[in-house]
């Protein structure tokens, strides 16, 4: 028993100090007029006022909708690309090691650095290609149009993460029994039939894990968003000027630092947490059911 607590102590202690205590404070502050990082003792209880304000703010509502759209597109595209790459690199190709390493490489680099690199690519390199080839549509930066700017974030995030999820799928495909796949091949199943009816059901648990992780990461996306578009371009929503590609994490950050309303930012973060927890639970529940069906 003494060993049990001694061995747990360092992990539990750092976990409590860094996550649990701030989490409790965080929920509490969202019901107060907390306004300075250094203070905290002299806050007043304001009930649900911050939450009422949150749901009446067009900028937040827009950010919420954009985040949901981003998450849906991103979860689909990342997993489709990652699974396709995994199918590609589980063939007996000559340079298979090189492909795996290369597809994984963007994942090693932080979103801030990648965001700036791609900002340059979208603003300078692609516009140059556009004017060289005389494609007027590409000659102006895609980051200047709100729909395209959102898809640009998706593209960068997919490029950054597909290689990581590819590894999860590669592991699952490799641990699937080879006899089963070979037997199907001998029975004359086409490649697509084998993928759909044999490989996909066998790697179903990997889909659950990968989709859960992409879901959580899509909702928490911050770095690429900040460095690539910083929320821009501006647009109108419910009669108010808003940044059109500001995802929730960036919205919360801006509320606290640019607009300087900490308690407001905290209320947004709690709404964000509840949404994420609910969506994650629902997603895991459905994936688990799907696993059993397959």
């Amino acid at each position: 028993m003494v060993t049990f607590f001694m061995f747990l102590l360092p992990a539990v202690l750092s976990f409590v100090i860094v996550i649990i205590v701030p989490f409790i404070f965080g929920v509490y502050y969202s019901f107060t007029d907390w306004n300075a990082m250094t203070g905290g003792a002299d806050v007043n209880f304001v009930g649900f006022a911050n939450y009422a304000a949150v749901f009446n703010d067009p900028r937040f509502l827009h950010s919420f909708l954009v985040t949901v759209a981003f998450a849906v597109i991103n979860i689909i595209v990342v997993n489709v690309v990652a699974f396709s790459l995994a199918l590609l690199v589980t063939n007996k190709l000559k340079l298979v090691g090189l492909y795996r390493a290369a597809f994984f490489m963007p994942h090693l680099i932080g979103g801030i650095i990648l965001g700036y690199i791609w900002q340059f690519i979208f603003n300078s390199a692609i516009t140059q290609v556009g004017s060289n080839l005389g494609i007027g549509f590409l000659a102006t930066s895609l980051l200047g149009h709100s729909q395209w700017a959102l898809l640009a974030i998706v593209l960068v995030v997919v490029w950054q993460n597909a290689g990581f999820f590819m590894m999860i799928y590669v592991a699952a495909i490799q641990s699937a029994p080879a006899e089963l796949i070979e037997a199907a091949q001998i029975d004359g199943a086409t490649y697509l039939q084998r993928v759909r009816n044999i490989i996909m059901p066998l790697v179903a648990p990997a889909f659950t894990v990968a989709m859960f992780l992409t879901l959580v990461r899509s909702f928490q996306q911050f770095d690429v968003n900040m460095a690539l578009t910083a929320g821009g371009p501006a647009g109108m929503f419910m009669g108010q000027a808003i940044p059109t590609t500001e995802l929730l994490a960036l919205n919360i950050y801006n509320t606290a630092f640019t607009v300087r309303q900490l308690a407001q930012g905290q209320a947004r973060a709690v709404v964000f947490f509840v949404t994420l927890a609910l969506v994650a639970l629902i997603q895991v529940y459905f994936n688990k059911r799907k696993e059993l069906e397959m």
Binding site: I19, F25, M37, V209, A256
Partner: protein, 290 residues
Amino acid sequence: MKNQLKMYALEIVAILVLIIYMLPFVIVLINSAKPVLDIIVDPLALPEDPARIFTNIEAVMASQVVRYTSSFISSSIITIISVFALVIISSMAAWVLVRTKSTLSTVIFMIFVAAMVIPFQVVMFPLVSWFHRIEVFTGLINTPFRLLQNYPGIILAYMGFGTPLSIFLYHGFIKGIPLELEEAAKIDGCSSAKTFFSIVFPVLKPITVTVMILNGIWIWNDFLLPLMVLGTGNAVQTIPLAVQHFVGSFVRRWDLILTTTLMGMLPVVIIFIFLQKYIIKGMVDGAVKG
């Protein structure tokens, strides 16, 4: 014969995807070797004078905003200490959680796992405020051991935020190890600490590699947590903070910005090239176990 043709076709597809995947890096590399005007004229052209890259690197090295050497050292200290601390505390915790069969261990494990859905945004503002209060209360604020804008705070933060996933990974792995060795050690009179560190810990090596890679990549590249705990432009800054601060203060100097991103990527890319065999194996093994 038909199969062989198919394999060649697949190989070509793979090479094409590889080229597309690497293009962004190529664009960074060629433009890091140009003066700013050449970039504006044609960002796709090859550099006229490739040696220009050294001029740009020197300019970035001399930058008082980037402080490359110092940022590199800070990033290394933070990443290395946090990763080692996480490996030790998480493996210890996971071991007793697996080996002690009780409701309490199940509940503790469930709390760690559930915490994975708490977004950083919910805790980041109170974390800074609470760290500040600890500093003031303990009087650490005026010492070299203060938490904010300093190593102890950010390392402690990574220890806290890293434990859920690391314990989860170790927990899954330890469940699959047979008990016999540990029991034999116990009969021989080994203390729990000795049993763990000399018998169990070496067996955990495969998952330890995975835990180190995942946490290492995350901590090295993380931006928002260092921004909150260290702040911008202070003595201790990580490479992502340095890059962001630099871009913020040199709008449109794409020659220097791209060189900075290149130098920001370089350490990880070099490590990856040398250790890729282990990193890729670690990732695949971890995915199977986790």
